[in-house]
Amino acid sequence: MILSLAWKNIWRNKKRSLIIIVATALGLWGSLLSGAIWMGWGESMVDTAINRDLAHIQIHKPGYAQNKEIINYIPDGFRILEETKNLPGVKAVSGRTLVEGMAASPTSTFGVKIVGIVPAQAKTVTDIYKRLIEGEYFTGSGGRNPVVIGRKLADRLGLKLHSKIVLSFQDLDGSLNYAAGKIVGIYKTESGLFDQSNVFMRQADLFRLLNTKPLIHEIAIRAESARIMPQVYAAVKANYPQLAVHTWKELAPEVAYTSTAMEAFTYIFIGIILFALLFGITNTMLMAVIERFRELGVLIAVGMKKGRIFSMILLETILLSITGGVAGIVIGGLSIAYFAHTGIDLSLLASSLETFGVSTTLRPFLPLDMYIALPIMIVITASLSAILPAWKVVHIQPSEAIRMY
């Protein structure tokens, strides 16, 4: 009955209540959608980084990160590669042979990382093969030493598809080797930096050029899902205590940080909106109780205790705010779902976005916990807004209030 009274009281001044409900709804809708866009952005950064090169987990020889020399390969790498492939929760693995070197054309040279891969294996972990804009991903016989390079590097070196590229690098003995490759494919990812510094070759070709037995420096592991990643990580770490095992978050802390920061921004933004709404709600409720001063005085006179009358005003404020809040969350959720489905095309901004490594189609999303946290935040806001009006009501002197006519 108290609940129904609170609900009915809200609709005594329809216009005034609707204004605050619509304001709440619009405020939340706006902040949810923009939050979802930021978080979609963050997520997209994470996804593209994972799909491009990071994968979920990587294994190296300890010290490789500090000293990327060819000699720092993973001891017994191929056995470990096979073993990790069969761990539960692992979707795919890819062994990479990494060599720091130079790429040269007749006109210029550039420092690059030469990545030796088994194409069929690499395809299961990263999606470079989907990013080819010219040529193909090691499909044809391709002649000797087929090479796939990024668009940016091709531009810098002034090379085209099927051009010859000269790679130079130190072999295991430390002597400088030169090798000519043929560009069979040119890829383009969202990251210009990645595109200009990663050159892909077949592992077999690289071993021949290095004149070495097969060796790998990096094992990239893809878990079946992001959720299961921590378990896989723990298992791999436990299995190979002698090796350096890292998640993508450790490998690219800036990407992980941006993604978390987006979530924090969203909460801050919603917090600001709610803070502004707090004043509107307080004002609405103050007007509502002042209008009903005599009636409330009568209720106190006939026996409604302070605690009860306080809760009645509190309940009324919460209902008012949560009505707008639910409306905002529903339209927010629906528009997020809509844009998540269609994607927001950012291609107009594409060239500047490349620097950030974000895909040009943004899919806004909001984590589930936000849909839980939000109603709680609204109820807290409403409770804060209710304090002043409820305090006024509790201090009504019934004899005075009733005398006011």
């Binding site: 009955m1 009281n9 009636e295 006519y405």
Partner: protein, 234 residues
């Protein structure tokens, strides 16, 4: 033991520039089942006296005993509880919650008392029936006439099973015919259920229906007479 006992009761308002002594040394006893009118010119202290008896105001002197209890000593929340369980109120206006039906208005006070839903509903219907509004139980106050609204207020005042009902100018906003009808109804409830009523009024036609008339002048009791003993006014 009298239902209500006032000893040397005084109330002085110090809010204005000059202190106003609204009630002066009033001593009065009211027994169960009395039907008492408090009368007097405007400003004579009727409302102040009723507010003191009803525990809506604190006296500045003297004491008020209701059923042997000194209500001036009760703490704020205990006083509200005391009002809820012992006193029925009817005010001149703004008695009812406009968004509740007549029935819900009557039920509400029982909800505050913690009466179960089924009992509340049943009693609300009975009371509305006995104030002659059996056909208006689902009407909202704005759909009712002034007289009908005051009847709902009387039903609400009775709903909590109080020791007595205080009504400050219950007929002030009514035409005299309607006022007479409301008073007749109250008199009937007084006779049939033995409910004690204390009401204030200006209206001579209302005064006629009382069985005890206490007249105030400048806050003091000027006269206290009994009338209509044993006879029925039409």
């Amino acid at each position: 033991m009298p239902l209500i006992e006032l000893h040397d009761l005084s109330k002085t308002y110090n809010t204005a520039a000059v202190p106003v002594q609204a009630v002066k040394n009033v001593s009065l006893q009211i027994e169960k089942q009395e039907f008492t009118a408090i009368v007097g010119p405007s400003g004579s202290g009727k409302t102040t006296l009723l507010n003191l008896i009803g525990g809506l105001d604190k006296p500045t002197g003297g004491s008020i005993f209701v059923e042997g209890k000194d209500i001036a000593t009760l703490k704020a929340n205990d006083l509200i509880d005391f009002r809820l369980h012992h006193i029925g109120f009817v005010f001149q206006a703004y008695n009812l919650i406009p968004v509740f039906t007549a029935k819900e208005n009557v039920e509400f006070i029982m909800l505050l008392q913690g009466v179960s839903r089924a009992k509340r509903e049943q009693r609300a219907l009975e009371l509305l029936e006995s104030v002659g509004l059996g056909d208006k139980v689902n009407s909202f106050p704005p759909q009712l006439s002034g007289g009908q609204q005051q009847r709902v207020a009387v039903a609400r005042a009775l709903a909590s099973r109080p020791s007595f009902v205080l009504a400050d100018e219950p007929t002030a906003n009514l035409d005299s015919h309607t006022a007479g009808a409301l008073l007749d109804m109250m008199a009937q409830l007084n006779r049939e259920y033995g409910m004690t009523f204390i009401f204030s009024t200006h209206d001579p036609r209302v005064i006629k229906r009382a069985r005890r008339v206490v007249t105030l002048e400048d806050g003091a009791v000027k006269s206290d007479v009994r009338q209509n003993e044993g006879k029925r006014e039409t």
